[in-house]
């Protein structure tokens, strides 16, 4: 069992914990924002592929 003194750290608990908290927020932000950038690009790429496929099939329909 951890004592509350370990969390309070004298009078410096507020400083130490806010630093660790902000760092965690920054890192989690990076994970999600950059992953989202990738997923958005992936979705765009998929849509382009679909459109290209449709165009190809419609062109071949006309020719047959």
């Amino acid at each position: 069992m951890m004592s509350t003194a370990a969390f309070q750290m004298g009078k410096y608990g507020i400083y130490v914990w806010s630093c660790y908290g902000l760092t965690m927020v920054g890192l989690v932000f990076l994970i999600f924002v950059v992953r989202r950038q990738w997923q958005i690009e992936l979705r765009h790429a998929k849509r382009r592929m679909q459109i290209m496929e449709q165009q190809q099939t419609s062109v071949s329909d006309v020719h047959t």
């Binding site: 370990a6 130490v16 630093c19 902000l22 890192l27 990076l30 950059v34």
Partner: protein, 244 residues
Amino acid sequence: MNWVWFHKLASPPTAYAFARTLRPWLLWPSLSMMLWAGYAALFVVPPDYQQLDAYRIIFVHVPAASLSLMVYSIMAIAAGIGLIWRMKLAHAVAAACVLPGSVFTVLALVTGAIWGKPMWGAWWAWDPRLTTELILLFLYLGYMALRASFDDIGRADRAAAVLALVGLVNIPIIKYSVVWWNSLHQGKTLSIWGKSSIDPSMVMPLLVMLLAFVMFFGAILCDGLCAQILRRERHAQWLTKQVQ
């Protein structure tokens, strides 16, 4: 020297597949290392003789600050390679570096301010180390703004690369600012070749945290690079296989 492997890796399809495979191998070990190092830093290592528990901020401040410098160096070198060899993938790496780099710089500045308030007695001082780190943040933001101001991705790459190379001179100034000037900021704590000035009983969480930050950046770079590759290779044939 055989450069075949390099050219292979530098081709967008291989790089894309490589980054997708590599990412989980960097992210999950990095996060578990951070968890261990964070626990040890907060609860296990003894307090400092002078700063008591306030020095525990070093375990997040130093890795964030080191990474802010490291990421900028990688960004500028990648930009230089892209400029000289006209390598698209190098420009993509540089473009993927700027967001994590600026986040690390903000974290270094903010945790430094929170550390400075109780110890030095001020959130901010116009100290050489602090001022040059703030310039680094402006370089990152300037790089982002410059990139956003071009519609053509090739021209954006070249203009941003010149800015990144110009800003590279700031990196050694930040690193040696505490040596060159008698300033408020203390000297370096960790040393690769010499003796570190932190007691052996405290050094392990710091080293593990630093390594964890490096691997974390690698994982973020994988995702950012994939986003950049998809944006740049929008008409390429190989995408069909990767996307589906």
